[in-house]
Symmetry: C2
Subunit: 104 residues, 2 copies
DNA sequence: CTTCTGTATGAGCATATAGTCATATAGTTA
DNA sequence: TAACTATATGACTATATGCTCATACAGAAG
């Protein structure tokens, strides 16, 4: 069905952006508050907040309150697997191209 | 590094779009020419061609000439795994929400 | 009550994206 | 050579995206 394709695409889109990937990589080590995340990734607080929101809305991140802080974490291990598979494809592609280079 | 994050994001973006996901699902069964793909997914030939190009440029699809036709196929099994993981996350999210509904 | 800290959001801007229609190109076939 | 088939591309439009600056808001601390 078409709605399912759109929903699946939305989930992937929520990961498929450099700043968001960076956040996901940071959150591999466990949950972090916004105040830790935005300095770690060197982005504005407002921009970071928006990206966190996008990922939370699409089921990539979980959000939890602790005292005055909001803690975000990766919700499903599948999100990390997707991030890893992107690396795997990239590696294959680069090694394919370097083979080409060697053949020149 | 920042360039690697961008490259990984580009790969994921090449998958994270409904029309392109539809094409990927179609190509699970093996390679197809453009002339088979665009009627199967009910998109214009020109639009289909552009999406195929995007995916080929980002290492998602392989392109091969056979006679007068161009055959496209999924280049790395990882691309299919990514598509599957998006479904897995979607399922979890939906079942999470339906649990909520039941609890009301 | 005021101030401070942590987080979210409105408004605006520049660029990217997906789609359409028309046309270009390359290789067949008549 | 002319017409046809398969694919790609230019030009355009509408919408989405990512970012910034400024501001809002909620809770804690003074």
């Amino acid at each position: 069905m078409d709605e399912i394709l759109t929903a699946r695409a939305e989930i992937l889109k929520a990961i498929a952006q450099p700043t968001r990937l960076k956040i996901i990589e940071l959150l591999r080590d466990g949950e972090r508050c916004v105040c830790e995340i935005f300095p770690a990734i060197a982005e504005e607080q407002s921009n970071t907040s928006r990206h966190l929101n996008i990922m939370q809305n699409n089921g990539i991140l979980a959000r939890r309150k602790e005292g005055t802080k909001i803690l975000y974490s990766v919700k499903h291990p599948e999100a990390l697997e997707i991030a890893d598979l992107a690396s795997a494809i990239l590696k294959k592609e680069i090694s394919g191209k370097s083979n080409l280079l060697q053949a020149v």
